[in-house]
């Protein structure tokens, strides 16, 4: 059964048709590569799943229930987590503080509640260990490598029982070694039964880690097939329009 199912989703901004009649479904524990050129509608599609935009037409279903999102917090409540392209990290805070940003743990009675540093350090440390990352909870994000920063952003998605993690260009601006680190983090999420939607420009990454690839061009879905039955050449053709549709 699909975790998330989109049926005939469209989104237009005035006269601009950003996403046009897209249907897709995402299975549990599946890594889906979402590819397409700039302006193909990837971001708009993802922002609808993340609760930033509401679709103009069509419907979304999650675990066979109608899913209507008014704002990003609601997506989070439904188990949809987003790793933003710029990671949304505060350099002046520790790794643990960033992981818990906006959902800090507190202890105390009634209105007299203080931040529970010990619990946040402990849980953040556990998550980093699960992700097999060397990130330490007490380190400032300012001092971290690109891979560690990714680990902090991904660790956020592990605080709640996420079902789907949307990752926007997670490998765009980091070194080769760090890319490998991030791809491993994605596999770790998949092994725990979480579906990952990987939005990426980088063909090798998608073919390395994804089970399925979806290609968009000019707001339409032009391909949706398993990695095994596709090839980088075919996907390139689909992105550029050299191949019309498969």
């Amino acid at each position: 059964m699909a975790v998330l199912e989109l049926t005939n989703i469209s989104k237009h901004f005035g006269a601009i048709q950003a996403v046009n009649d897209v249907s897709l479904s995402i299975e549990p524990g599946q890594v889906v590569g979402l590819m397409g050129d700039n302006g193909a509608g990837k971001s708009t599609l993802v922002k609808m799943i993340a609760g930033n935009f509401r679709p103009s037409h069509g419907s979304m279903r999650m675990d066979d229930k109608e899913l209507i999102l008014h704002k990003p917090v609601e997506a989070r409540q439904h188990g949809i987590e987003i790793v933003h392209q710029d990671l949304a990290l505060c350099n002046n805070l520790t790794a643990a503080a960033n992981v818990y940003l906006g959902r800090e743990l507190r202890r105390g009675i009634g209105p007299f509640r203080i931040l529970d540093y010990a619990a946040m350090y402990k849980r953040a440390g556990q998550i980093f260990a699960e992700l097999k990352s060397e990130t330490r909870p007490r380190d400032l994000v300012k001092q971290m490598s690109g891979g560690q920063r990714q680990a902090v952003a991904i660790a956020r998605t592990r605080l709640s029982q996420a079902k789907i993690v949307l990752m926007d260009e997670p490998t765009a601006a980091i070194s080769v070694r760090q890319v490998a680190e991030v791809l491993n983090l994605i596999r770790r999420l998949r092994d725990q039964g979480i579906s990952v939607v990987l939005i990426s420009h980088r063909m090798p990454d998608v073919f390395d880690v994804a089970d399925r690839v979806i290609v968009m061009r000019r707001g339409r879905k032009v391909a949706d097939k398993t990695i095994a039955s596709s090839s980088p050449e075919e996907v390139t053709g689909l992105i550029t329009g050299a191949i019309e549709q498969v």
């Binding site: 990003p72 917090v73 989070r76 933003h84 710029d86 990671l87 949304a88 990290l89 505060c90 350099n91 002046n92 805070l93 503080a97 940003l101 906006g102 959902r103 800090e104 507190r106 203080i114 931040l115 956020r156």
Partner: protein, 332 residues
């Protein structure tokens, strides 16, 4: 990799020590202590109880407002209106009490005025997107003008039936001969330090200063928090105004002129970063103390008062220079 228990412990102790040496606040504390030691030996007048009483009390007005300003500066904002808000709050208190109302009503009116101004600043900045510099610059002019309107630009020095109470509030020394304003400052500093370190609100303030966009994306209520910090800053100015009124026993419309610059200087000397994301309550107090010690020492050493600005300005540059040198080393 096998890690023995000692390694992380040693590492932690080192980092604590390095952190202390790397902290601007630490060096400013050292500077204050050295200056005090030097002055105790160099002049007879410094280490007298009367002079120390004066210094500690003089520090408080700048220090209290600096505590409020710290909140604003951590979010990456600035509040230029505090000097004028101090004057307006004092004037509201003075005029209300002069008209025959009790001290409670006077203080209530004064605090309400300060909070209203803070809310006005904050709403323009957070919800309408005005730059903090511009909004509070405008308020600097507006608040002082309102103080003149409220008093018809006269000096108020009679505070009605509760006259004596007000003077005791600001000028007294109820515990162990420590000036009352000093006690208020200590209490407010402890509250500020607690809020910044131990509350969700404090954490979110640092997050906004570090990366406002990230704070928004992760669900931090950025706009209400921004309004709150400008209200806190104005409240601090209002409290300082009330205490200063009690201490001076008179309010003029040029009270607190130029004070915003001293306050900002105190927070910056104490280690706050005007770019946001960094600042402590202790730093604000220490910064205010250094400025006051410089001022006091120049007088005692018989140096012409005109040189004050040079020394205080020098202290600001020196404090920030430390910070730059540290960052250069780190980026290497």
């Amino acid at each position: 990799m096998a890690l023995t228990i000692d390694q992380p412990i040693v590492q932690k102790q080192q980092s604590l020590l390095t952190r202390m040496f790397a902290s601007q606040t630490f060096w400013v504390v050292i500077a204050v202590i050295l200056a005090c030691l030097f002055l105790s030996f160099a002049t007879d007048a410094f280490a007298t109880s009367k002079n120390l009483y004066n210094i500690t009390r003089n520090v408080t007005f700048v220090a209290i407002i600096a505590l409020g300003m710290t909140f604003v500066i951590i979010t990456g904002g600035i509040d230029l209106s505090v000097g004028s808000v101090l004057c307006l709050s004092s004037m509201v208190l003075a005029v209300t009490m002069h008209a025959g109302y009790s001290i409670e009503i006077g203080i209530l009116a004064s605090i309400a005025t300060a909070l209203a101004i803070g809310a006005f600043n904050g709403i323009l900045i957070a919800y309408i997107g005005f730059p903090p510099f511009v909004v509070t610059l405008g308020m600097l002019s507006i608040a002082r003008s309102l103080a003149m309107v409220a008093s018809n630009n006269t000096v108020v020095f009679q505070f009605g039936p509760d006259h004596a109470k007000l003077l005791a509030l600001g000028g007294g020394a109820w515990v162990f001969g420590i000036a009352n304003p000093v006690l208020y400052t200590i209490v407010l500093a402890l509250i500020t330090g607690f809020v910044l370190r131990w509350t969700k609100f404090g954490r979110h303030i640092f997050a906004i200063g570090g990366n406002e966009h990230a704070a928004t994306l992760t669900g931090v209520p950025v706009k209400p928090i921004k309004v709150a910090v400008y209200m806190i800053s104005a409240l601090a100015a209002g409290i300082a105004g009330i205490i200063q009124t009690g201490w001076l026993g008179a309010v003029t419309t040029n009270l607190g002129t130029g004070m915003e610059l001293q306050v900002i200087a105190a927070t910056v000397i104490g280690g706050a970063n005007l770019a946001g994301g960094v600042g402590t309550a202790f730093g604000a107090i220490v910064g205010a103390a250094l400025i006051e010690v410089i001022r006091n020492s120049l007088g005692l050493l018989g140096i012409n008062a005109f040189w004050q600005g040079v020394f205080i300005g020098g202290a600001i540059l020196l404090a920030v220079l430390f910070d730059r040198i540290r960052n250069f080393r780190r980026s290497d």
